[in-house]
Symmetry: C2
Subunit: 384 residues, 2 copies
């Protein structure tokens, strides 16, 4: 029987890669739902090609065009944020791939796991901001959360068949970004254009800046905490510029397992869709001989204070990680617009954390209020 898959955010990079995975495994999957935010033309093309049962376009500006373009097909079309949330609550899917961008992805994850639907999670914000709420809902409703990004997929793969009791620590690898060797005293002069020259993965601008500040590793530490139910003192970071080892697990007997591969998001996406199988795929293979050398360095917390902030918010709990995440989003945006300097990013986050009204056990609504407060404060220049 085909696995019934819904892709939330099907027109973005992860969504498109997921459809490429499904293209080469046509017998394994039935696409139930596709959703897009604004890219209605791509959504229409995908709908014609994949014939999902239901689609959602969140931005309703071009609703009529979508209806017209698909009028010859028997496909349910819904619109708006409410439509998206209603679809996320449906139980008629085996696996939701949540490839939504930003905090908009948080509630759909919550709705899916509450409906008992397993989630292949690419949306970082779901667990970073609402890890406690979402993992509780998943556990209560017997829904599983499968990681999609390469680091957590690596950890997950290394843990297959193993007991969490045997895990001494996990080791997230990070490229260290473009500034790991730059003179620290010049960090305030870093321009967005320099930061955007990231060598290993083809990523969006936001994530590329997160890689330059190493906040991406910080966010991954928080995600790993929730995905694998690990205390932060069992999560370490190693700088590994070649990004070949995607992450590692050290067991109690000092045996270390690592997952390696080429930088291709299709590998972790497919694994989340086909777990526990590693299904044959013809994409590029890792050639360690061609690669020649892998190197490892200690992460420099002074150079990359965002990492330390992430560990701090894990210790703080409650609303802290949500504030960190939203503050980082906006600070990166201001940096990309040349409105603040590179070293302002961690400062703004730290100020936001200091000033926000902390709630120890927030609801999803609390988190949305915190999100708005943090955005407003930063955009009004009150945290600089």
């Amino acid at each position: 029987m085909k696995k019934r898959i819904s892709i939330f955010g099907s027109t973005g990079s992860i969504g498109v890669n997921a459809l490429a995975v499904i293209d080469h495994l046509p017998d394994q999957f039935k696409i139930v739902i596709l959703t897009a935010n604004r890219q209605w033309e791509t959504l229409v093309q995908q709908t014609i090609k994949y014939r999902p049962e239901t689609i959602c376009l969140v931005d309703e500006t071009h609703a009529d065009k979508v209806r017209d373009a698909l009028s010859h097909l028997d496909i349910e079309i819904v619109f708006g944020r409410d439509g998206l949330l209603e679809l996320a609550s449906r139980k008629n899917t085996d696996l939701m791939l949540n490839a939504l961008v930003g905090s908009a992805g948080m509630e759909p994850t919550f709705r899916a796991v509450t409906a008992g639907v397993d989630v292949a999670l690419s949306n970082k914000e779901s667990l970073v901001m609402a890890g406690s709420i979402i993992t509780k809902a998943a556990s209560e409703n017997n829904a599983k959360i499968f990681p999609v990004d390469s680091e957590h997929s690596a950890i997950w793969q290394c843990l297959v068949g193993e007991s969490m009791e045997d895990v001494r620590r996990i080791i997230l690898t990070g490229s260290g970004g473009p500034f790991r060797n730059r003179e620290l005293s010049t960090f305030d002069k870093i321009q967005p254009e320099e930061a955007l020259k990231h060598p290993n993965w083809d990523m969006g601008n936001k994530i590329t800046i997160d890689s330059a500040t190493m906040m991406n590793k910080g966010l991954e530490v928080i995600e790993a905490h929730w995905l694998f139910d690990l205390h932060s003192d069992k999560i370490d970071i190693v700088v590994h510029p070649q990004s070949v080892i995607h992450s590692m697990v050290e067991f109690n007997d000092s045996s270390v397992k690592a997952q390696l591969g080429v930088p291709d998001m299709k590998v972790p996406i497919q694994y989340a869709l086909t777990y526990p199988s590693h299904v044959e795929a013809s994409w590029k293979r890792l050639d360690l001989i061609e690669m020649g050398t892998l190197t490892f360095e200690k992460p420099d917390f002074q150079r990359f204070p965002c990492i330390k902030l992430a560990f701090d918010v894990l210790a703080t709990g409650g609303t802290a990680a949500a504030v960190l995440n939203v503050a980082n989003d906006h600070a990166v945006d201001l940096f990309l617009k040349h409105k603040i300097c590179f070293t302002d990013i961690p400062s703004i986050i730290e100020t936001a954390l200091d000033k926000h009204m902390y709630i120890a056990n927030p609801s999803l609504e609390d988190l949305l209020i915190i999100e708005k407060w943090t955005s407003d404060m930063i955009n009004n220049g009150k945290l600089l």
Copy 2:
């Protein structure tokens, strides 16, 4: 309940390391049998300390001394090769660690698996020489064979929870030995003393020469074939001078898993004893940051013809691998005694393979005859 363990070859390096593992896990294991070849004093000390039910001293020269030294203990003592083989057939043990050296270990492995006893296998010759016979007996009697050497333990660990159907290939790593960068035209001038300066593992002389010729990888290819039921075209070798990655598995989706660690035989020994658990141990941990750099190179079959010979005998099947193994043993011995030169080692093996009476489906007895024939031919200088 304690796991009942027998250690065949308890006074050698693997045996002593196994007892050190058991020392730190006293609640988990009961030692049933200990055996030694000639080191009777060490065997007596071990017997007094660990109180096995039965011991065996193969070389009977000092039988009386052993009897006297242990007369105050209620311990069964047997002697000779026949005693050893009888003990290997006993069903009163959960796991036999076969740490015997050389082809003398082959029949005890066969006897144990035939008795339905699981074997933690350090004795390379068992599978290299008699892989077909032993894996068949194990399968028929529902006995498992757990690898003890670091490369196969690495593969085994990477395969935990995975399906063999998903395996594209395994990649055995090898240090490349001391001559991987030496001018090939000077290989006939290599002296044993140069070969014995091996950087990574503390090993015996025979294995150190095998590392210098890379025959150790060749033998591991043959072992891996039998342990994991993999065709030789699914087994690759990568030279990795730091010996940190102990081996790897590439899956069909191009995901690669690796097992890493410090060079300490206690890790794979303990894993074979405590499988599937990675039990807490206080020994040295891998520090990739301190290590800094890992490198990978293509193995040079011209420089290391022994690797190619090993792949060839896998293709040939039957008695070929046994001849390769025995011829290698004796050729290495002659090299260590300065009687032949380094490049004679593969030549002698090749001549032995050419000249021997091939049997497609040999019995254990056939293999013992082939062993004697090969030894005699080499020691009489007929294969030079």
